[in-house]
């Protein structure tokens, strides 16, 4: 465990001059009003690859890559690289422009495998070419889709595509004596989301796993461009149902940053409480699901009961079990009464005692522990290369947590530990959740004590067009990023969503190798990734 460090050095001030960026030139974007909370710099296509790889060598992490169609205003396509550094609480947004004529940008995936899918998604959605990509096949649009680029501005959202024919996505062949393949999906045996898995196996052990995702692609980012900022909050809440409040908050934070608005302290604390409640209900449910997948059904029943306790608190506070419809740009839609807060405290107290009992029950089973240890190991080196975030990252030595590294809501006024394990197995991923539940209880107690009366919402005036900003939230699963550009009439021009699942699916591919097929469910559950968040 590491202690939270509240003192940030301004590492980017030190690094950026090495690349010829003087602080005088920061945040000067001729086409947008950029938020002061981030550092925006512009790089030429020629210098792009050396700058990106150099920043990685300087200890920065490439969190996301996204593109934007600016051809309608004669600015070509914009590609943005989002970096952060452990010793700086700001995000660095490195922007480059790809001309409408060339449509090509240099790929960095060979050096930074973490952005493999994201570069390919830019290819699919914008019709750009990631030059030098080691595997430039389609990822977001299946192979049987026509040649369309949905996120281009000249592509109408209501286009009706003709029926699809042919193969969706051809897997690498499974060759060798005694090697065979197991195709699974997209409709799975459990009550889970759709995706297609192709296992190559030799007897019981898995040789490798190939994924075909984006079955739940529903044009979410395009849909944002047709909504007003206020209504878009509801779409943000539907990006991944289990992280509705985190996504909603990330979106609202982006809007608030673009507006340069300060949210009242009571709203910040209320958000913190609900963010932690979202973490609690998901983590306790996952702990139950993990032990259930190795046969401990009784513990799962108790965990599900505890999860219901939290969902009940959610409903008391938010009117919705999944915390929908409460966050809004500028704060929170409704204030809480003292009675609601008192009930929340009381229920959390009850939950705390029950959780201790649940863990005693799970700890009493040696066979459960035996099945979870050394199963589905993701080695720390690979976790760093693949840019794994959140619970899965912290179980494999990646000491990152946006709540501590880029504080938002009321996280700067509470103290908590960030659990980090090095083993990277299913057991570690469960332990991270167990520790985080205990830390959440600590945060909740602290914030509830600080929750003083006051306004819970500040009025935001309609944003002018061309404001850009980033919102970042450490959801229960990991890092959620929302990047927005406002359009005319209070609408959005672009909203880029990065769910932690998009980073983490390749971790599953690594972690299952050499494990037996019957352990796949528990390994998958220990990551518990969102298909909808990935596919959007």
């Amino acid at each position: 465990m590491t202690q939270p460090s509240k003192v940030f050095t301004s590492k980017f001030d030190e690094i950026l001059p090495h690349y010829g960026f003087s602080s005088a030139g920061w945040n000067e974007a001729n086409d947008a009003e950029v938020s002061k909370a981030e550092i925006h710099v512009v790089v030429t296509l020629t210098d792009l690859r050396s700058t990106v790889t150099g920043l990685i060598e300087d200890g920065c992490r490439l969190a996301s890559i996204f593109a934007e169609d600016r051809t309608s205003v004669g600015l070509g396509f914009l590609i943005c690289y989002v970096f952060d550094h452990r010793q700086d609480c700001r995000f660095l947004l490195l922007r480059t422009v790809v001309s409408e004529m060339s449509k090509a940008f240099p790929s960095v995936s060979a050096r930074i495998p973490a952005v493999n899918w994201q570069e390919r998604e830019i290819q699919d959605m914008f019709g750009l070419v990631a030059k030098g990509h080691p595997n430039p096949r389609r990822v977001a649009l299946h192979d049987n889709w026509p040649d369309i680029h949905p996120l281009r501005k000249d592509f109408p959202i209501d286009t009706v595509l003709p029926p699809f024919h042919g193969e969706r996505h051809v897997y690498r062949p499974t060759l060798g004596e005694g090697v065979f393949q197991i195709p699974v999906g997209p409709v799975h045996a459990g009550i889970i989301e759709p995706g297609h898995f192709n296992f190559a196996v030799a007897g019981e052990p898995i040789l490798y796993l190939q994924l075909r995702m984006f079955y739940t692609h529903k044009g979410t980012e395009k849909r944002f461009e047709h909504l007003t900022v206020r209504n878009a909050v509801y779409l943000a809440e539907s990006i991944s149902g289990d992280s509705g409040f985190s996504h909603g908050t990330a979106f609202c934070q982006a809007v608030e940053r673009a507006a340069g608005a300060e949210v009242p302290i009571r709203a910040k604390r209320m958000r913190t409480i609900l963010l932690e409640l979202e973490r609690l209900y998901n983590h306790v449910g996952d702990i139950g699901a993990i032990v259930n997948d190795v046969g401990f059904a009784v513990a799962n029943a108790h965990a599900a009961r505890l999860r219901e306790m939290i969902l009940n608190i959610n409903e008391e506070l938010a009117g919705s079990r999944l915390l929908r419809g409460v966050v809004c740009p500028g704060g929170m839609r409704h204030d809480w009464t003292d009675r609601q807060i008192a009930r929340c405290r009381e229920s959390l107290h009850h939950f705390d005692a029950e959780f201790t009992d649940l863990m005693a029950l799970i700890d009493s089973s040696d066979s459960t522990r035996d099945r979870l240890e050394h199963t589905g190991t993701l080695h720390p080196g690979k976790a760093v290369d693949l840019g794994i975030v959140g619970v899965s990252g912290r179980a494999s030595g990646v000491d990152r947590d946006l709540r501590r590294d880029h504080p938002y809501a009321a996280y700067d006024e509470v103290s908590f530990d960030v659990p980090v394990y090095q083993e990277g197995d299913v057991f570690s991923r469960m332990l991270v959740r167990v520790d985080e539940i205990r830390q959440s209880m600590r945060i909740l107690k602290d914030v509830l004590d600080r929750l003083a009366p006051g306004p819970c919402r500040t009025a935001l005036s309609q944003l002018p067009a061309n404001c850009v900003a980033l919102g970042a939230v450490e959801g229960w699963r990991g890092e959620i990023l929302h990047w927005i550009r406002t359009g005319p009439d209070g609408r959005l021009d672009r909203c880029k969503i990065k769910d932690p699942s998009l980073n983490n699916w390749p971790a599953l591919v690594e972690a299952v190798q050499g494990n037996i097929v019957p352990d796949f469910p528990v390994i998958n559950k220990s990551f518990n990734l969102s298909y909808s968040g990935t596919d959007r």
Binding site: P156, F214, G219, Y234, G241, A301, G319, R324, S364, S532
Partner: protein
């Protein structure tokens, strides 16, 4: 083993009484909005506030038609906040499942006054009478058959046709000890070939269209299809776009629609039992949804 038994004894029974007893719903629960159609003077603020177009307005020749579609509603409560007249109220009603898509739609007709407000209510209609006439003849017979074949024990296959996973959270909750679906003889199965009912969520993405059709074909007859949530009914907040079809009904025939975003577990139970014709039996006594007490699990 001792730990397990001790904890079970300490915990006792946690399963809810619904549907035999009334549901215990927290007082702040945001259920269906209700509309005071008579005397509603201006529907425009509520319609403007609605993020999914569940409240829509058509105007022609000094008349205004207000349409409320619970199949599009995501139960955000913006309409009640925007309508300052008090004609729109958020209730705790969650038992919204219906057999006909049109039963989720209410239209109210008003003459327009000179200042753009509404005059006295001129007409109010829920559902389509045509559909009802057609159904009444067949429905009784069909219901009896379904009840005979599937009524006492039902195998359900869940199909996520592109949902945000919110509906899956609530469907999963039906299996936990609090809602315990199996006490009603209903259980989830791993294959459509073992299923009597498909519980379908999501706006049906283009990528799940074929999978849904194949799953439907693999389910033996007689079979029931339930569309779950605003997305499953109408496409919800995602609507109908290049990547979605906008509702389960456009791909396979649907028997029951369960509104909600997502529908709470009791609402899912209500819809499933409605499809089986068992809800009527269980609801002999009138059914209040209000209770001050929260569940003590």
């Amino acid at each position: 083993m001792f730990h397990i038994l001790k904890k079970a004894a300490q915990t006792g029974l946690v399963t809810i009484g619904y549907p035999d007893r009334s549901a215990q719903i927290p007082e702040n629960f945001r259920g269906a909005p209700s509309f005071e159609f008579a005397g509603w003077q201006d529907a425009r603020p509520a319609a403007d506030a609605c993020p999914t177009g569940a409240i829509s307005i058509e105007e022609s020749e000094a008349r205004r038609r207000v349409t409320i579609d619970y199949g599009l509603c995501i139960y955000c409560g913006q309409c009640a906040e925007a309508d300052l007249s008090g004609a729109v109220k958020i209730t705790r009603n969650f038992e919204l499942a219906v057999r006909e898509r049109s039963d989720l739609v209410t239209t109210a007709d008003y003459p327009l006054t000179s200042d753009g407000r509404q005059g006295d209510l001129a007409g109010l209609r829920t559902g389509s009478t045509a559909a009802h006439g057609r159904l009444q003849a067949v429905e009784a017979k069909l219901q009896q058959r379904i009840q005979d074949v599937l009524g006492r024990s039902l195998a359900v296959r869940e199909v996520d046709a592109g949902s945000c996973n919110g509906c899956e959270i609530e469907i999963n909750a039906l299996n936990n000890p609090v809602y315990d679906l199996e006490r009603l003889g209903i259980h989830f199965v791993a294959s459509p070939r073992h299923a009597d009912m498909l519980l379908v969520t999501g706006p049906v993405t283009r990528n799940m269209e074929l999978a849904l059709q194949k799953t439907y074909r693999a389910t033996p007859t007689p079979k029931i299809v339930i569309a779950v949530g605003a997305c499953g009914i109408s496409g919800g907040i995602f609507g109908n776009n290049y990547a979605t079809i906008g509702g389960v009904n456009a791909v396979v025939p649907v028997d029951v629609f369960i509104p909600g975003c997502p529908p709470r577990p009791q609402a899912l139970l209500h819809g499933i039992l409605l499809a089986l014709g068992r809800m009527e039996q269980r609801l002999a006594s009138s059914h209040a949804v209000c209770s001050e007490k929260s569940n003590g699990f």
